[in-house]
Amino acid sequence: MSVRLKLLLALTAALLLAALLAPLLAPHAPDAGATAQRLLPPGSAGHPLGTDGQGRDLLSRLLWGARPSLLAGIVPVAAAALLGTAIGLLAPLSRRWVETAALRSVDVLYAFPGVLLAIAIAAALGAGLWTTVVALSIALTPPVVRVVQTEVLRFRDADFLAVARASGASWWAVALRQALPLVLPALVVYCTTLVGIAIVYAAGLSFLGLGVSPPTAEWGSMLDELRGNAYTDPVLALLPATTILLVSILFNALGDALRDQLDVKERSVR
């Protein structure tokens, strides 16, 4: 394992731990604000990262905000990975018409740019954290199917799969025991990068008012709230924007390091 990969894994673990321990680490309650302490600059006494327009401590809000933001980044990817793998793995191995039907439906979903699909679904279901999770789960499934499908197609005609099938193993057994291990490296790499993308999408939905609604601390809605102060307090406005950027870079770099580690070829899916 490369030093780079170890470092990135440690950083990811630290990030997840910080979100988990937010109640212990945060110096203030995330939604306790005092109007007298509005828009304090970073470095103020008791508020290391300053306060927002309602006098709420930004460090505490960023820590608490990590919980819904990471949740909305990780849960949809897990769901999309399960669903996408199931479709991508079983479709090429199953009957012709099942494959056609499944892949055509994915084609239709694939025709929507991801954010647009998520926006449409989130708008339909109404704002909220779980809405975001559902919308992203659906929006992220088609690309996962593509990844799995490309990998499976590389191996579909391999002799050992034919042998397994000829020996009377069930579709399920062939898919899980033979095909899944072949697909796994590419899937792990892609899903790691996908977490970064999902975090960005989730915060984006909140930013548009379709995700977690105020006053709950969440990176996207914090960005939206502080956007209005960009002209007067640019540093504060950039805090959530930079946080999302850094976390996104973290997951993409982790995916890249995993790609090198697992020797997965660079492909264009997204």
Binding site: F112, I121, A124, V200, P234
Partner: protein
């Protein structure tokens, strides 16, 4: 001696066949897309009638408007009518703005295309430059740096970048306008437009630029390591000629990924347009969602998805033309 030449099979008929087949395949996808859009919008909570008439409307007025909009009829019927009307180019009229939806959406889409074209140029130029540096400098510091840069670009959320650019270059440095397409007074010239385009185009371009750079770098590395490149050197071709062949061979991958990424620009514009007040399809969609303006949402999502499908077809066609191996 004159006129003696090679025997080549005509490719025109083959291309026509390919194009026809590809377009035919797109029809069910488009119908599916339209159905998904319709179904999603039909589920949108919040009653458009009450939001139009306000909370104090009489039940009679509500019933009258519901009937006039056809919202009281069964869903499958509304779906079929909407689909056939849409296929004929009739997108209905906006509930909130009381204007034909086609007019609203097409104007907005035109503005988005301007933004997407500018960003597309940045995507291709930046993607090729970064990708070439990564491939040629592989194993050296320059390669690692450009590889890291493209990861940062991939990770950069459009809204974060947009805000960063607004604050740093717009507000702090005052170098660029922070919103709109041109100055209200004395604006509208080419220079003014480019000035207004710069920041939103850059914000929209970063992610696809990073993806393009990485995929192009991988393709170029493959080609540079290919046997035929060494064979050409062994035949004494000049290094410039060898590179020309290599780049030509990486071109299909570049156009495939570049084309798809330009299509994905369409998804980033929702954020970029909202932050930069660019009157495009993204901003229109955002406003329509907040106003529960069903026909505009339907048409906006539909137009974007159709453009997306069209671009994929164009990319496939280009790939067919550039890589003879795909012509089977």
């Amino acid at each position: 001696m004159f006129g003696r030449t090679y025997v080549r099979e005509s490719q025109t008929a083959a291309f026509a066949r390919f194009a026809a087949k590809r377009c035919a395949l797109a029809v069910p996808v488009l119908i599916g897309v339209a159905t998904v859009v319709f179904a999603t919008v039909a589920l949108i909570p919040g009653d458009p009638v009450t939001s139009m008439l306000g909370p104090g409307a009489t039940p009679e007025a509500v019933a009258e408007l519901t009937g006039r909009l056809g919202l009281d009829r069964p869903l499958p019927l509304r779906w079929w009518e909407w689909l056939s009307a849409t296929a004929q180019g009739d997108l209905g009229s906006s509930i909130a703005q009381r204007r034909p939806v086609g007019e609203i959406v097409m104007t907005a889409f035109g503005n988005t295309l301007v933004l997407a074209a500018a960003a597309g140029l940045l995507v291709l130029a930046g993607g090729v430059a970064l990708g070439t540096l990564t491939a040629v400098g592989r194993g050296r510091a320059s390669g690692r740096l450009s590889s890291a840069l493209s990861i940062v670009a991939i990770s950069a959320p459009q809204y974060s970048v947009a805000l960063l650019l607004v604050v740093l270059l717009g507000v702090q440095a005052g170098l660029f306008p922070t919103g709109g397409m041109y100055d209200a007074i004395g604006g509208g010239g080419l220079g003014d437009r480019i000035h207004h385009l710069a920041l939103p185009a850059l914000a929209a371009a970063l992610v696809p630029m990073g993806v393009t750079a990485r995929v192009y770098a991988a393709a170029l590395t493959d080609v540079l390591n290919a046997d035929f490149v060494e064979s050409m050197r062994a035949r004494g071709l000049s290094e410039a000629a060898v590179i020309r062949h290599a780049v030509r061979n990486a071109l299909p991958s570049l156009l495939t990924i570049g084309g798809l990424q330009i299509a994905y620009l369409l998804e980033g514009v929702v954020f970029v347009e909202t932050i930069f007040a660019w009157p495009g399809i993204g901003q229109t969609l955002f406003q329509a969602i907040q106003a529960r303006d069903l026909p505009v949402i339907e048409a906006g999502v539909l137009v974007t998805a159709v453009a997306f499908v069209g671009l994929t077809i164009a990319v496939d066609a280009l790939h067919w033309l550039l890589d003879p191996r795909t012509r089977r």
